[in-house]
Symmetry: D4
Subunit: 236 residues, 8 copies
């Protein structure tokens, strides 16, 4: 079974973002193998969409090395990067129910050493909840906007805040919300300029995109960037 | 061909709303027949989705009796009801491109003798355009909100204005806007309480719904309402 | 966790409709926090889509303050508005199985002090069940029509009754009923004039829309309406 | 190019229904070839979905043998079966715009020698138009109900009339009507018992189904039915 | 709760088909009430989509009056009509897994006193299984063809057998079979003439349609048919 | 504009299949540039989905070098491979209208020097048209089955013929045929074992797949196959 | 119940592929009957999509004859064909989570006596994992590529490897992955020439298609192929 | 008509991005009005999705002020920002046919004074075309990847290049490509970390997002950013 897993250990060198393990569709055996590979290669590892039941099924020794957060269903295997500086990323939600996805984004950022500013339950049905906090959002390099149902919040934010706005549609809602499909399409069809979108419930992906922005902004990908020639050689 | 058309002449008596003719899918012969029926029964008639080509194809005498508006593609056949009182319905659009659908609603109201307040191009990408006019919208019994693309405006309005808010999604947009489907679903999944929705591009239907509100508010459907016992007899 | 919840306490002042708590996607901790906020602010609160399991998971003291109805899955937290006058809203269903959604609408109205007229199982497969009760429906300001499967009842009612007709599609049915999508689309494409529609299974939303109609009808939004200038200031 | 066409000449013997030519997707050359085959085999032929442009493109001699009807876009090539007896099939439409599809059904029946009863524009928005004609519909063996938009009429008819009810959804409508998809799904999800459905705009198919009913009813498929043993031999 | 249920007791008189109870979406209380109504009115009743758990939840006395079949999930409450004559309807399946839906059709027919011919597992992947039994199928007035996955069998049968062919798509399959949607659409788009279709998994509806055919064939709806004038009076 | 085009000249060496030009979405300038590249590199080129209008818009000199076939909308630019041996691939269609797509497959094969066996109009509504030709189909290494509407033919063929069966759904049909989507899904959900599928109307792709089969069969990809090590070097 | 099952015992003779039992939608009784038929006819049998619960529900004697593999959910009932020669088929996956579907393909091949080359977790997010193994893939007659989520791997492989490339989309992923629909459509729309596709999660079908390729390559279907004339006779 | 247009003149101050005019759904009168507003306010204006016919319909004086590019369908009304520095954004396409959308992105960047690096026709079917240019892509702050059909290129790039990767799905393709829907969903479901996506064919939006990245990177939104307090006041 060991052969089922092949970690992409050069990902951080290539992209400035380490590989993470999407736990949900994996068996206990597959998860265990992946973490053994990480141990052997002396890597810390982020686990996403890890259910409490999956966590409980892992061998005691392995489970003991995982710092788990139930709301976000994420686990930190091994030490994380120490955070530095003040937050340049905000993670905000339309409703309380969107917190789980937002916290996946926050945990992904934390694992890589990034602080973030967090705000909840500021959906457009009560617009004052957003406008009273615009002063905090406007200086941010990135605002991750997590919203289900109608998905109107990302558009409103993208019309008011100049940073990179990343919409994360969530599967919160019922009926025509269709597991996030409506929020997704609403953000993609936004009338606000330059709003970008990731998959439904993909807090992890939004955080990775935020890190790409942060990496690109500082010094044009120098430290995080692989030497392309190098990698090209490796591809061959 | 005459037998193809049967006007619902008792509709106004039953519902307080006269029948209108959806012209788009009809042949010239069918339109002509319908207008002959109206003439014989001494009725004025609203035509919707009437293309300039269809208009041109009608016999001269018939065409001369139609007051046509190209933007809304509506025609008034015969005299209209004289307007009275100050507007209790507003019709507003997210973008300039939504004007055609909005004007179908406005013309439907005008045909029945209702003034309305009209505002354009106040979409949420520039939120100030909406908020600076809230004073005008708040006293309205009904606000018809016409919006394509993301369909975020109806939700924002429904969170700020207490009247009956009717969303009319439009087919304006491209890609995932999918001919209005996204705007429709976004409004249906709205987080704002009590937003109601009609079919895509259905300015006519929104105006009819507004008239039902106006009728119900004045004196509980008394004048516009048929005697149900009466009608029940007729059904038999 | 307290920061996850921010009640929109000015909603009733703005819209004439108080905020409610959509319980379904919320954790016990989030529900508890929300109800604490309500207590602190001395508000009653309507809870919707609250499962028996969620109810059972709440602290005893909190649970004791909730008047729960299992069919509608709604809870009243705190005292409700005393009803006055005779019903101006009817809530009717096509089939017995649509009762759960209908009762969500009825409970939402009851929480705000509105009586309603209730009728069940009068779908169009046996049309006499509807026609024999038209006398009761025709004077209503609003008729909420709850129907799954083919969704034909709202169209038939909207052709016979002059009030505001609000279709609530339900997820009752199987196969092509597709969790209410067919009933939804059928009502939106209705050939009857002025039928309006809310989200699938959204009895709460239909009731809110009905209250907007009642509020708009009496005295043009005066008491329920915020001063827009006031609110505009607050938005800033 | 002749090899592109292979008529199913034994179809009438097998099924009691002759093959017809779906003209729409065919080139002039392919149509000409098919009609030559018919001539050689001494068969009359029904052409469906034949556009005026296609008709005009045919060789003069061929075109002269076609009795064309523009509304239904059908052509009779060669003599038709003489009608006998009183109508046992009714073809009815919800709106005037559904006439084109209804007339395809009527022409298909006429080509095979069947009279039918035709009614138009009796949709449920004005229910009295249907109920006043129930006496004529109830004795029919088959009622073909042609309806677009919401597709509510077939359900209402199937709740009132005991014959075989065949719904033909049409592409009439706009927005969520989605080219007949909504009418189709509404009829399939019908709460009325035993309603059957054919493809959108498929008047031809509905007529064929009606003929299967008529054939099965008279004397259990005796004259129209092939000897199955016979055919089985042919299949091998 | 009693008021939630209103049986359509005149259905058999109108349509020749008695009302049945779709049990699946109903609560125990609602089922019990419905059966009490039946008892009071001295009617037998067919229950469809009745789960073993629902059956077990009924009061002992009620449950004892139900003859239950687990494969079809149907129950007979009260005596059934005694069967007469030889079968004029066949019910056939493409695969063994389609048996549950087929047996719903067979039980519906049996409840009304109709024998039927039953064949299983004769899908087109092994075409000989169908062709060797054509002699039995060809004399049938109606063939109900139950098939999931690709839904090819109804088309093949409709090309070989002259009776009324009713396709019942089933939700058997996975992936693109999409809970029967593919089988449904394939049958609706059939190249075979006159194939009619009912909702996915709707064995009950197919049986009702078959009974409409049988009723129409014998003596033009005379005994089963209401007097339309009569009923029209009742509608009023 | 020249920089818009970069031919994949090593494709034949890598895959045994030369690059072709999908003309449809390209401008005249882009087509001209591509053919200039081909000339410079001394390559023949297959053009697919090339409309007569596009052909006419090309410079005379270029157009003169193209052997064009209107039915398939394909062009041969430069000399083709001379055919050898007897056909090992059959291309068959359900209906005459599917010929255009079938001929795209045949022309793609011809361009690469492969004969094929061609049969038309043998759809399952008249099953004898298929069964009488099974002797010819059974020895084929590959059978490309082109079918629109219900898409039943590929399944029936895959149950009778042992070769590689490639379904090509076509956009022939109307209503629920939905531009080939139904035929596509029906073939993917097939109950026959090992049926493979390509995109709707993709005769070109089916022919390429057939060539992969032929190449793999002869001598395990030796002549057509690149040296993988070689190519790996090139990737780097 | 025995009559519910009819094995297609001549399938191997016709197609070179034996019938298998899709266990998932079958009851214990139906599975038992099918295996009894196999025993009586002295056939081994492959069971697919057989859950551990289904296995456990079988009679002890039957269960004892099944060699079960939990990851692939397949069972071998009776002896399998002994493998010979070196692998000519590779089965590769984009991610570890795709292993279950891949192993269904591998087990299907193993049951019929085919070795295969297996590779896992070589998705395009870390492209080097694929390119470093191209030397092994290039000589293969068939490469089965199993991938969920974006479904990009089959396209990349089909651009690099000359054999027959069969994409098996999997339901791995969340949100817009929509149970494999996105991976499916991406492979069907591939820009790489000659990629063929099977149903979502259909490892069994991909293996059958691979066997058709292997059979066709060796000696043009001679040994595996029925005599078509023979079979034609049988069809009759 | 003038009242139909209300420019969002403070957008650049708020967001660092000036408003543009989506020309496609606008009438000549509406376009003319919008450009008059721009003239009065002394603004340059970008027009997108402006057809040659629309351009030709404008008054001569207006048309003369527009620098038009046909491939991208964009117009520059008034002077543009002078470009400075070396490119930090790359715009690349999978195929030649994706150039139109790519050039909309390039023109949007050029209008705002940003150079960009442009590459075409480097889709994954010939992977070497991408890998040989990785050295140029890796230092980029943003890579806009324009791709239709399968949409595999953005995923492959996002696995190799560390900058912000913005996928622009295009409507290039046919059949299951479904006007860009498949490319869109494939990019959203990407297995590569941090890929972000905009609407189908939305080159303009991708360029705006790129500008947000560039703005955020330099000095945290200082110059381009409004004072949020300021704007908040204006919202009120």
């Amino acid at each position: 079974m060991t052969d089922d897993v092949r970690l992409d250990l050069s990902r951080h060198r290539r992209l400035g973002i380490a590989e993470a393990i999407l736990a949900e569709p994996k068996s206990t055996a597959q998860l265990t193998t992946a973490l053994e590979h990480a141990t052997v290669n002396d890597r810390s590892m982020l686990l996403t969409r890890l259910s409490p039941d999956q966590l409980a099924s892992l061998p005691d020794a392995t489970r003991g090395l995982i710092e788990y957060d139930e709301l976000s269903r994420t686990g930190f295997f091994g030490p994380v990067v120490a955070p530095t500086g003040s937050p340049r990323v905000a993670v905000i939600t339309a409703g309380t129910s969107d917190r789980a996805v937002a916290s996946e984004a926050e945990r992904t950022l934390a694992f890589a050493g990034h602080h973030c500013l967090s705000m909840s339950d500021i959906g457009v049905a009560g617009l004052w909840r957003l406008t009273e906090r615009l002063d905090e959002l406007s200086p941010m390099a990135v605002v991750v906007v997590v919203a289900g149902m109608d998905g109107a919040l990302p558009t409103v934010v993208a019309g008011l805040v100049p940073g990179v706005i990343i919409a994360v549609p969530t599967s919160v809602g019922y009926g025509v919300a269709r597991d996030g499909e409506t929020a997704l399409r609403s953000s993609l069809a936004s009338c606000a300029p330059g709003l970008v979108v990731v998959n439904i419930d993909n807090g992890y992906g939004a955080a990775c995109a935020a890190m790409r922005v942060l990496n690109s902004g500082s010094s044009a990908g120098s430290s995080a960037t692989m030497s392309a020639s190098d990698e090209r050689g490796r591809l061959g």
